[in-house]
C-alpha cells in the first residue's frame, strides 16, 4: 500500500483563471498513487509510506469519500509497520520513529480501528502509548520535550506529535504535560512566534506544532495572540499564498500551518481568506488532480492534503470540516476527544 510517489507526470501546466475545486480528479489522483511502482520516485519515497497513508486517507475523508481506499488493506499495511516496542516505522522493516507512530495513530483513529488493532496486536494501543511516553525527556535543559527515536534528536515536531497521538488514544496522563508546556514556552520569541528549540528563529511550521501542542494541553492562554497574530498575518503575500518565514516564497503547505495557527488563536480574519482560496485552487492540476506547492509545479499527496485542509478551514463548500489542531476530520477527532481539548 502506498500513497506516496514522486511527482511523476503532470497534467495541465497551469490551472487557468478561477478553476473550481476538481474533487473527482483529486480522489482519483490519490487512489492511483498506489499504482505507480514503475516510477523511481515511488521507491525513493519509501521512508514516507505511512505518512503518505495519513495524508491520502485524510484528504479523502475531507473530500467526503472516506471509503475510497480499501480499508482492510490500509489496516494491514499500518499493522505491518509496527515494532514489538510499540513504535511504527515508515514501512515494513523500517525503524520505529515518532513521526510514523503519530501517523499510524491518526490513521487508526480515522478508520475507527483501535479495537480491531487491539484484537490483532495484543495490548496494541498500550504498547504504542508507552513507546511515545518513553521518548519524553524528563530532565536537563531539554526537559519536557520529546525525542524522535532512541538516538535522541529532539524537536518541537515530536512534542506536538506525541500530544496529538496520546490524546487520541486517551493516554495523555502517561506524560508530564506541564513539563512539555514549560519547554514550549522556552521556544517562544519576542515576536510571539516559536522556534525549533529554545533560541531558535521563528518558523511557521514550529508555530503550528507549539500552538497545536498548547491547544491539546488546554494552555492557549499562554500564547501572546496579538503579537503572534501579527507575525502570522504578515506571511500572506500579494498573490494570496502564505510563506513560512519573512522573505520566503509562498507555499501551500506553509499556508496550512499559518492558517491553522491563526484559527487556533482566533485571528483567521487577519488575512484575506478568499485570496488564499484562489491561490490554493490555482495550485491544482486540473487534468490529473492533486495540488502542488505553487502554481505550475508538480503535485504530490502532501500538498494535496494541506491544500484541501486549508480550503476546508476556509469553509469552501463541499468539504468535510477539518479540526485545525489535528489536521483530521472534526467528525473523527470529536469521537475521541470528549470536548476537553479542541476548542478552536
Amino acid at each position: 500500500m502506498s500513497l506516496v510517489a514522486g511527482p511523476g507526470r503532470g497534467g495541465a501546466t497551469q490551472a487557468t483563471e478561477s478553476v473550481p475545486l476538481v474533487m473527482d480528479k483529486h480522489i482519483k489522483y490519490i487512489q492511483d498513487l498506489n499504482e505507480r511502482k514503475d516510477e523511481y520516485e515511488y521507491w525513493l519515497t519509501e521512508h514516507l509510506r505511512l505518512n503518505g497513508i495519513y495524508w491520502g486517507l485524510t484528504a479523502l475523508h475531507l473530500l467526503r469519500h472516506p471509503d475510497a481506499l480499501p480499508r482492510a488493506e490500509v489496516l494491514d499495511f499500518v499493522i505491518d509497520c509496527m515494532h514489538e516496542n510499540g513504535g511504527f516505522g515508515a514501512a515494513k522493516g523500517h525503524d520505529p520513529h515518532m513521526l510514523y507512530t503519530v501517523s499510524a495513530v491518526q490513521v487508526l483513529a480515522t478508520l475507527d480501528a483501535f479495537d480491531e488493532f487491539n484484537q490483532q496486536v495484543g495490548d496494541g494501543t498500550n504498547k504504542v502509548g508507552h513507546f511515545i511516553s518513553n521518548l519524553q525527556v524528563r530532565e536537563g535543559v531539554d526537559a519536557g520535550t520529546f525525542a524522535g527515536d532512541e538516538f535522541g534528536e529532539t524537536d518541537t515536531r515530536f512534542l506536538y506529535g506525541a500530544l496529538n497521538a496520546l490524546s487520541l488514544l486517551g493516554m495523555l496522563p502517561l506524560v508530564d504535560v506541564p513539563l512539555a508546556v514549560e519547554h514550549i514556552q522556552k521556544c517562544q520569541n519576542s515576536d510571539g512566534a516559536y522556534g525549533l528549540r529554545p533560541g531558535g528563529e521563528s518558523h511557521a511550521g514550529q508555530v503550528f506544532t507549539c500552538v497545536g501542542a498548547l491547544a491539546i494541553a488546554g494552555r492557549l492562554d499562554l500564547v501572546d495572540r496579538d503579537r503572534l497574530g501579527e507575525w502570522l498575518s504578515e506571511r500572506q503575500l500579494p498573490n494570496g499564498g502564505l510563506n513560512g518565514r519573512p522573505e520566503k516564497r509562498e507555499d501551500v503547505c506553509y499556508s496550512w500551518w499559518v492558517l491553522t495557527s491563526l484559527a487556533m488563536i482566533e485571528r483567521l480574519h487577519w488575512i484575506d481568506g478568499q485570496k488564499l482560496i484562489d491561490f490554493i485552487l490555482g495550485c491544482q492540476d486540473p487534468d490529473i488532480g492533486g495540488i502542488s506547492d505553487r502554481p505550475g509545479n508538480m503535485v504530490d499527496v502532501f500538498h494535496t492534503l494541506f491544500g484541501i485542509a486549508g480550503l476546508s478551514l476556509l469553509k469552501h463548500p463541499g468539504l468535510e470540516e477539518v479540526d485545525p489542531v489535528y489536521c483530521m476530520p472534526k467528525l473523527v477527532t470529536s469521537k475521541f476527544l470528549t470536548g476537553t481539548t479542541t476548542k478552536s
Binding site: R9, T13, E39, S190, D191, G199, W231, P246, D272, S292
Partner: protein, 370 residues
C-alpha cells in the same frame, strides 16, 4: 520530502525513458536488498558501510539506513564485532575507530551541500561528533567541534537563511562553550568560555553583507542580553547598547520595505516594555519617563521616514503599533494626535487591503472608529 520547486512537465515518457527509469529502479532496489541481507547476516563494517554510503548518497532521507550505519559503528567502537579484523580493509591494514569516524565526517560534506534541508544528514553528523568525543582523544574531539563552525559558516555563506544551518550553528556554539567550561573547570565566573561576543560579531558581518536577513537579526536579539549579563555590564553600558542598536536599525531603515528590519526594531522596543522578561532585557533600570522618552524618540524618527516613503505600509503599521503601546504608558501629552492616527490607519487600509480584518480590530483597539 514532498516535492518543492519542481515545474510541472506534461510530456509523456518514451519507451527509452521508461527503460532508463526501470534500470535505475532495479539498481536501487537491489542495493536496498543487499544492505538488508548483509545487516541481517551481521556482515562486517567496511563492507556494509560502503553499501550504505552508496545508498545514502542516492537517498539521504532513508533514515533506517542511517540507523544501520550508527549500529554498525557502535558495534565496532564498542569492540563487539568479531567478523572484521582482517576483512576490514582490502590491504589488510586495520582501520581504526579514528579512521571510521573522521571518514564519516568527510563523507557527509558533499551530502550536506547537495541536500542542505535534510534533517537526517545534520542529525547524523551531530551523532558522529558525539561519538568522536566519546571514543577519540580529547584534543582531537575539540578540534573536530571547532572545525564545524567553519563548515556551518560556509553553508550559511551559500544560503544565508538556511534554517538547519542556523540551528546547527547554535548547537555547535553550545558544545564549544561546554568544552571551554570543562577545560577551565573550577574557575568560576559568568560567561566563562562564552562565545557570545564572537557570535554577535558574526551577525554584524552577516547583516552588513545583506540587511534583509531575519535569521541574523533574530540571533542578534538573543545574544545581546546574554553578553550584557556575562560582562556584568553597568547601567551606562546597557543604555549605550540600546541606543547603539536603535541607531543601527534606524540607519538600516533608510529602505523601510524590508520586514526583517521592522521585526528587529520591534524586538528592541519589546525590551523597553514594563513586562519584558528579565532574560530578554537590555536596560534594567528603565523608569516610566525613560520609556516615554524612547517611544517619543522612535515615533518621531519613524515619522521622518514618511517624508521619503509615504507609500510604505510598514511605516504606518509601526507608527500605529507604537502609538498603541505608548498610550499604555501614561504619557502626559502625546506627540501625535487622533487625527494623525486616523490618517495613518486609512493609509494602511489603502496600502495593505489583505489584512483589513486586522486593521478593523486595530481601529477598535485604538478607539478610532467614529
Amino acid at each position: 520530502m514532498a516535492s518543492h520547486d519542481r515545474p510541472r512537465v506534461t510530456a509523456e515518457r518514451t519507451d527509452k525513458d521508461l527503460q532508463r527509469e526501470k534500470r535505475k529502479i532495479d539498481e536501487y532496489r537491489s542495493l536496498v536488498e543487499r544492505i538488508e541481507t548483509r545487516v541481517a547476516e551481521g556482515g562486517s563494517e567496511a563492507d556494509v558501510l560502503d553499501l550504505t554510503s552508496d545508498l545514502l548518497s542516492r537517498n539521504p532521507e532513508y533514515y533506517t539506513v542511517w540507523n544501520h550505519r550508527r549500529r554498525l559503528l557502535l558495534r565496532y567502537l564498542e569492540g563487539g564485532d568479531t567478523s572484521n579484523d582482517a576483512s576490514v580493509d582490502p590491504n589488510n591494514k586495520q582501520a581504526s575507530p579514528q579512521d571510521y569516524l573522521l571518514d564519516d565526517l568527510r563523507f557527509l560534506i558533499p551530502l550536506l551541500q547537495q541536500f542542505p534541508k535534510c534533517y537526517w544528514v545534520w542529525n547524523y553528523r551531530l551523532w558522529i561528533l558525539e561519538q568522536i568525543e566519546r571514543y577519540l582523544p580529547r584534543q582531537q574531539a575539540d578540534s573536530c567541534w571547532q572545525r564545524e563552525l567553519d563548515l556551518v559558516a560556509k553553508m550559511l555563506a551559500r544560503d544565508e537563511r538556511n534554517f538547519h544551518g542556523w540551528a546547527y550553528r547554535r548547537i555547535i556554539v553550545d558544545q564549544l562553550e561546554r568544552l571551554a567550561q570543562e577545560a577551565v573547570h573550577g574557575e568560576e565566573g559568568a560567561g566563562q568560555g562564552s562565545r557570545s561576543q564572537e557570535e554577535f560579531d558574526y551577525t554584524t558581518k552577516m547583516i552588513h553583507s545583506k540587511l534583509s536577513n531575519f535569521s541574523a537579526w533574530h540571533y542578534r536579539s538573543k545574544l545581546i542580553p546574554r553578553i550584557l549579563d556575562e560582562q556584568e555590564a553597568d547601567d551606562t553600558a546597557r543604555r549605550k547598547v540600546l541606543d547603539d542598536e536603535l541607531d543601527l536599525i534606524q540607519n538600516a531603515l533608510i529602505d523601510p520595505n524590508d520586514q526583517s528590519l521592522w521585526f528587529y526594531h520591534q524586538s528592541l522596543m519589546y525590551t523597553i516594555a514594563p513586562d519584558c522578561p528579565r532574560d530578554s532585557a537590555i536596560v534594567l533600570t528603565l523608569t516610566n519617563t525613560d520609556r516615554v522618552h524612547y517611544y517619543e524618540q522612535e515615533i518621531s524618527r519613524i515619522r521622518e521616514i514618511l517624508e521619503d516613503w509615504d507609500d510604505c505600509k510598514w511605516v504606518y503599521q509601526a507608527l500605529l503599533k507604537y502609538a498603541a503601546e505608548y498610550q499604555t504608558l501614561d504619557a502626559g501629552s502625546k506627540v501625535y494626535s487622533n487625527t494623525d492616527m486616523r490618517t495613518w490607519l486609512s493609509k494602511l487600509r489603502q496600502l495593505d487591503p489583505l489584512r483589513s480584518g486586522r486593521w478593523d480590530d486595530l481601529e477598535k483597539h485604538l478607539d478610532l472608529s467614529t
